[in-house]
């Protein structure tokens, strides 16, 4: 009661910036200022992905590539989670299957990365989809558990039967010699996939996916097969994930059982969640914060994980909406205190 009697009660009010309101319609094309307002975030992203790598020292170029791999995994997770309603812990599965497919294509068939990477991406995506087919009916946490189990099964089969290089993995795979090509393959693929998937989810197909997420029975009453839809969604995500795995094997010239490591399932989810699920830009941002962060913290030795976890917790507690939605809000709106 005392509070309501207090005259100085204030409320935070958020208002769209004038330029945001003006650039909502076609009128945006009337002035350079408004066009640049619209283009600035995209230009910033493109510069970051395509131009920044040139100025990085060689060690950080490697970090850039790793961050790109985690970004791809985070985008794949975010696509399934936010647009198809499937919680996937499949990062390790995609990395492993993608990595081994590209690795086997390289070691057994002698294919150079220019062929093995694209073939491995689509073939690996197909293998993952077939593996996940029996679990497509599962929802929520049950699908997550199914995707979580496969990496264990496959890596233990490899270990027990000593196939595909066994415990030692496949070494001396064909690699791309030129470091710049390696770097820009990732930069260009990541840019393409990022804008491609953002486009996909606002297209009609994306609307059908989102409809399925909200109510699958209503979608099947509308004459669309849920199983087919889920299969397509899983195939798209698996291809993106397997590309990440295949790329890592090309980057290292080696593929082994550590490709099935749990990190590849967990870290992309963390990246997606702190960046803001459903935006893809958030996944990208999250991965490009978390991966370099682990490198920064490397000198601290065992304390590294403590620092890492504390920073992660701070992000989740202080910015639960995600970093990217927060930035979007700051860009489009200003806030002020008003007397109530």
């Amino acid at each position: 009661m005392a509070i309501s009697e207090n005259k100085s009660e204030r409320r935070l009010e958020r208002i769209d910036r004038g330029i945001k309101a003006r650039t909502d319609g076609i009128y945006a094309l009337l002035s350079w200022r408004e066009i640049s307002y619209l283009m600035a975030p995209r230009t910033f992203l493109l510069m970051g992905l395509l131009v920044l790598p040139v100025f990085l020292p060689e060690v950080w170029q490697r970090v850039f590539c790793l961050a790109g791999i985690y970004s791809l995994l985070a985008i794949a997770f975010d696509f399934l989670f936010s647009y198809a309603g499937m919680v996937s812990l499949g990062g390790a599965l995609w990395m492993g299957v993608g990595g081994y497919t590209v690795g086997i294509l390289g070691s057994e068939f002698g294919l150079p990365p220019v062929f093995s990477l694209p073939i491995g991406t689509f073939l690996g995506g197909g293998i993952c989809t077939v593996l996940l087919l029996p679990t497509l009916r599962l929802k929520g946490i049950y699908f997550a558990i199914a995707t979580f189990i496969y990496p264990f099964i496959i890596s233990h089969i490899i270990e027990a039967l000593q196939i595909a290089g066994g415990t030692f993995g496949l070494a001396d795979l064909p690699v791309i010699e030129n470091g710049w090509v390696v770097l820009y393959v990732m930069a260009v693929l990541l840019t393409g996939i990022f804008f491609g998937i953002r486009r996909l989810v606002i297209e009609d197909v994306g609307m059908v996916f989102r409809s399925m997420m909200e109510n699958d029975q209503a979608v099947s009453a509308s004459g669309i097969s849920i199983t087919v839809l889920r299969t397509i969604a899983v195939y798209i995500a698996s291809c993106i994930g397997c590309l990440a795995g295949g790329y890592l094997s090309v980057l290292y010239g080696w593929v082994g059982m550590s490709f099935f490591a749990l990190d590849f399932s967990i870290l992309p989810i963390a990246a997606s969640v702190i960046g803001g699920p459903g935006t893809f830009a958030g996944s990208l941002l999250g991965a490009f914060i978390l991966v370099p962060l682990t490198e920064f913290l490397r000198p601290f030795g065992p304390m590294r994980m403590v620092g890492y976890s504390v920073i992660l917790a701070l992000f989740v507690v202080l910015k639960p909406e995600g970093i990217f939605p927060y930035l979007t809000r700051k860009y489009n709106q200003f806030q002020r205190w008003v007397e109530v």
Binding site: S211, N215, Q217
Partner: protein, 258 residues
């Protein structure tokens, strides 16, 4: 079994459904001619929704068959039946809450059935077609209503949205599960002409209803269910005079009035 020659579009034959030991439907048989409006009524728990679910493939019948244009469709998947031309609405509306209202129609417009029809927006114009359909079912065109998230719309609009989905699918037979329930008299009065117009366009309607007065102005024939058994089939006026129907609704020996 029954062919097209006598104009029968849908025929339910000796349909039974058991959930464990519970008999939800017991030996139900009826048929509906093309262009008719059939009312399905009955007290709560009489198996009306189970009947719909059996026809539309959401539930597999234990015995019996459902014949659509002479083909036995019992056991087909829901999306296959929808693509053959049987659309349905849900008793509890199922909008895609976060999508704008008109984007709710993208899924049916995307179906294999809708693609066969010209003017279903196949060339990337599904949004425009969806707006047209929403206008057709009574959304204001220039207002912001079709662009609002479906979750923000009142029930009257959501019922129309359910109908709009069947229209977008170009269904020949629409099965409407209690479209009038929860609506005010005025809202029902504005919905009736829409249903009449759909029927005049050649759509066969099966309406499951509790609002008998409105139903009887529309339906040419009714089927009365009670505890999964068909009590009555025939003219809607005769239904209320039937002793067994009265008993099911009001109990034995009481003079009922509806």
């Amino acid at each position: 079994m029954s062919g097209k020659e006598n104009g029968t579009v849908l025929r339910v034959e000796r349909l039974s459904k058991m959930f464990g030991g519970v008999v939800a439907l017991n030996d139900v048989t009826f048929e509906i001619k093309k262009g008719d409006i059939l009312g399905v009524i009955g007290p709560n728990g009489s198996g009306k929704t189970t009947l719909i679910n059996c026809i539309t493939g959401f539930v597999k019948p234990t015995h019996g068959g459902v014949y659509f244009n002479g083909t036995d469709i019992s056991g087909f998947t829901p999306h296959k039946i929808a693509n053959m031309g049987i659309g349905r609405t849900f008793q509890v509306v199922r909008p895609y809450h976060t999508l704008p209202a008109y984007k709710n129609l993208i899924a049916p417009l995307f179906s294999a059935r809708a693609r066969h029809f010209p003017g279903s927006g196949g060339l990337g114009n599904r949004g425009g077609i969806a707006i047209d359909i929403l206008e057709d079912v009574g959304f204001e065109r220039d207002a912001r209503v079709p662009y609002k998230p479906a979750g923000d719309l009142p029930l009257g609009y959501l019922k129309r949205l359910e109908l709009a989905r069947c229209i977008a699918l170009r269904s020949d037979v629409m099965i409407l599960d209690e479209v009038f329930s929860g609506l005010s008299a005025a809202e029902i009065a504005s919905l009736v002409p829409l249903l009449e117009r759909l029927n005049m366009d050649g759509v066969t309607l099966i309406m499951v209803e509790h609002r008998l007065k409105e139903l009887f102005t529309l339906a040419s024939k009714v089927v009365v269910l009670s505890f999964g058994v068909k009590l009555f089939e025939g003219n809607s006026d005769d239904a209320l005079k039937d002793e067994k129907v009265k008993e099911a609704y009001f109990g034995k020996g009481k003079e009922g009035m509806i």
